[in-house]
Symmetry: C2
Amino acid sequence: MPHRSQTLPVDRVFAALANPTRRDVLDLLIDGPRSASDLAAHFDMARPSVSEHLRELRECGLVTEARHGRFRLYSINAEPLLEVRDWLGPYERFWRNRLTDLGRLLDALPPDEADRA
Amino acid sequence: MPHRSQTLPVDRVFAALANPTRRDVLDLLIDGPRSASDLAAHFDMARPSVSEHLRELRECGLVTEARHGRFRLYSINAEPLLEVRDWLGPYERFWRNRLTDLGRLLDALPPDEADRA
DNA sequence: AGAATAGGTAGGAGATATCCTACGCATCAA
DNA sequence: TTGATGCGTAGGATATCTCCTACCTATTCT
């Protein structure tokens, strides 16, 4: 009956992605590494706040930091995203077969009937 | 410079997935529809708390509810997960080519070297 | 009708998230 | 060496999250 108690690594990844600013940071880093202040300049919030988001991304392994003089270059580490993709895997069949609705299963509508969606 | 203010639908989906109980609910529903109390029995928390998680999943469209007498059967609607998969898309190249580290980009390793995946 | 069952909502406690300003500590430029 | 720049951390205000117990309605069983 007890089900979960401590925070798994995959939990941290999902939690990190739950914030739009952090997802936007990752999206910016797709094109290549950027410095912290470069990243911060893209957001309508104080620089230290962005710095905190970077720390969260660091702590769940989604970015890495490389010091270059007084700059810190952040770059993507996409590996933790594999856990997200793996979690998503079992759901592929739902959108592949359009079996997204209980009603269709229970009422056993003719499958072609419902293709106007 | 302003970047985001209101909560987009995709934000709600990511936020819903950020909670392990809610992801577990979805995982349970993969095998088919279940009633609310059936779902609640799987978790080490009070039933009304599970009910609240179900409401969140409902409100972001990840589950649908069908009333049958005094039961309510919940079933998956995987469609919102497409947004997650779409967001994940641009990161595929990172784990496909194992270009997860800035160092490798900078050092310009031969690209065929990393195709054991 | 009366009791039991399914399950949602209200209100609140405590924890966590997200932002801010103030500050500290390096590093580089003059 | 002094000042400016890059950037992390501290502490705090406020909002949101996650759980609880108490309570309500609707349906079904006897």
